[in-house]
Symmetry: C2
Subunit: 367 residues, 2 copies
DNA sequence: TTTATTAGGGCAAACGTTTGCATTACACTT
DNA sequence: AAGTGTAATGCAAACGTTTGCCCTAATAAA
């Protein structure tokens, strides 16, 4: 019952032409008379001919396929990035293969192998939290596979990069906390090896120093699982809370971690911002609906994906690799909400802290 | 600089063997002496030979590639489904191509064409909100492309289906609202053509009837964009609110729509659950953090993706199509929270409604 | 010793395209 | 009349695998 798809050979036979003439007529190029072109095209359309992409791929060594490797698809931020990639790819007639590694180095290696064997034309890559060295990536790149790094990048690969202004985002958020009167600001962040972790830490430290405040190492906690390992996150918070002088504010350094952190503080009955102010990197769609509404540093995730895909496709389609690669830095947006409202005197924190901050927070930049 | 990957031919030449011997030795099968097999395998490993997947695909007419077509990647629910699919595919050594259609029928058609031309071995499909007829799908299926439908399905294609217990989920949520004392329950839902819309509506209606309550058509509002079109959603809510007897509770029928709806009620200063109780289908990770915490009907999204992918791979790999197809119905979980707390007498609603329900809501089923 | 069997391996076609290099049939220059 | 140019098309090899069939030797059976 299954009709085999029609091929160029079938068309050639039916029309009494050679394979090559049919092939060229379909492409429209080369020197084939208009009459023949029409004939072939009409026949092809009528029998709804579809070129066999596997054969084309084999011949052209191009699959019109982009590979994505990242840590977690259901992460708000990455889901939006993927959406941006898909969108750009669609416009340029590419298809997108997706893999996730759950922050595992081994899994990242496997995924990259799978993708490159399967002949993607290029790779969009955000490093896993567990990535120790990048020999496996370097090898692919050396073999000529075009790669664009996004979000979690490395300097060791000489190629395009698309990242957010992590340092600036963390700096602004920290400055905001300082301006609101918080002084003991802790930083809860992801795996220490990641570029985003380093850059955000840098912004946090810069802001403290700009206010002549010391940077305390015990106020900086890393979570290797980036919020996917609940006990790990709980421990980190517990340690912060049990310090002699516990922090009065928390700057959180990644999407999952921010939500998880909110959740843990909530469960433990810690008043936000009464006992602990909270701001974090997050692309959650509705932070204004949380209780209290959450101050976030938001990234242009969709745009990041879109730009990365466009750069990659450009890389794939140009004949010679460019002499110089670019690093696009996308702005971040600090969206100020109640979770970083000015702290109340201790006597007041017994009220309804989530809903009555002393001063109304600014409108912030939202959506 | 770019090293061409090594091929079977190269190995054959270096070892003084024929292509076929090398090919068979690598596969381990057929009648090749152990000595030769070892020789070939060692050489291949040493020079890290990788089979050219395009060539294999062309020859075998298999790409070990699954295609996904759905409406929106950043949707919490679908992001989890994709994650489940990726996970199952990885275990069986398949790769996954992803497309989204933003509820557009035309875009769905294009995406399916792209995927099928590009030789995916099978398709995981959730219909777009705008899908008018399914001729395009039927055609692919008739041509022998294995398809598994998930979430938004149709009976018109005879194949496996994986869905949630939408009717039961809506029924339980509606019953819960009724038990909490709400009587004027409206239903805000997605595109009317979708199976999930029909099934959830059915559950809602059944629950009302089971309580001897009438079903009012003006309490049922469809949003074709499923929450992606904000004005559309606002209008629907406005219309409900301006009724002579406006509803006192809202059952919302899809992920995006639920969050959007919460957002709109929040912006308009409508007290939840004081003026309007709210329950909805949602896979948002932290509904307990919203203000008020949100009663949700949660689906096993990851599992849905995993099962669908496994069924599809089974379909692809078995020689003969099964005589009978199955429809897996996954349970939904009603997670009861404050947004559906028992309504207060009018005099009380001026207080702090989000934080002080009259009776504590049950623990619900969470995570 | 002859014959059958088997193990081990090679040949070449095939999958559907693409493309460099003919080839043919004209028309146009010298 | 011989040569040049050009438009339209065909031939066949190539991309890297897989696989049905054939070949050769060696061994086992008769």
């Amino acid at each position: 019952m299954i009709k085999q798809p029609i091929t160029i050979k079938d068309i050639a036979r039916s029309l009494g032409l050679s394979f090559s003439t049919v092939s060229r007529a379909l492409k429209g190029s080369y020197k084939i008379s208009d009459a023949t072109q029409q004939l072939v095209k009409d026949y092809a359309a009528k029998h709804n001919y579809r070129p066999n992409l596997m054969a084309q791929s084999l011949k052209n060594k191009k699959s019109r396929c982009l590979g994505i490797a990242l840590s977690s698809i259901p992460n708000n931020f990455y889901a939006e990035v993927i959406s941006g990639i898909e969108s750009a790819a669609y416009n340029k007639d590419y298809l997108v293969m997706i893999t996730q590694n759950d922050e595992s180095y081994e899994r990242e290696i496997k995924n990259l192998e799978n993708l490159s064997w399967r002949a993607v034309d290029g790779l969009l890559l955000s490093l896993s939290g567990g990535t120790a060295d990048i020999a496996h990536i370097q090898r692919l790149h050396d073999h000529g596979l075009p790669i664009v790094l996004f979000d979690r990048v490395t300097d060791a690969i000489n190629t395009h990069r698309v990242i957010a202004d992590n340092k600036g985002g963390a700096f602004n958020a920290t400055r905001h906390l300082l301006e609101r009167g918080f002084r003991r600001i802790a930083h809860l962040t992801g795996a220490p090896g990641l570029s985003i972790t380093r850059e955000r830490l840098q912004g946090y430290q810069d802001a403290l120093r700009a206010h002549q405040l010391p940077v305390h190492d015990h106020y900086i906690k890393y979570c290797n699982a980036c919020g996917n390992d609940i006990p790990e996150t709980e421990n980190a918070i517990r340690e912060l809370l049990s310090l002699a002088t516990p922090p009065d504010a928390l700057l959180v350094g990644s999407d999952r971690l921010t939500m998880r952190c909110f959740s843990i503080l909530h469960e433990q009955g810690i008043q936000i911002p009464g006992q602990m102010a909270l701001a974090g990197f997050s692309n959650f769609s509705s932070p204004e609906l949380l209780s209290p509404s959450l101050t976030t540093i938001r990234q242009s995730a969709f745009e990041m994906g879109k730009i990365a895909a466009e750069l990659l496709i450009d890389l794939i389609e140009r004949k010679r690799p460019p002499s110089t690669f670019e690093t696009r830095i996308l702005p971040t947006h600090l969206c100020i909400r109640h979770s970083t409202a000015t702290p109340l005197p201790a006597s007041c924190t017994a009220g309804t802290p989530g809903t009555s901050p002393v001063r109304s927070p600014g409108p912030g930049i939202y959506n």
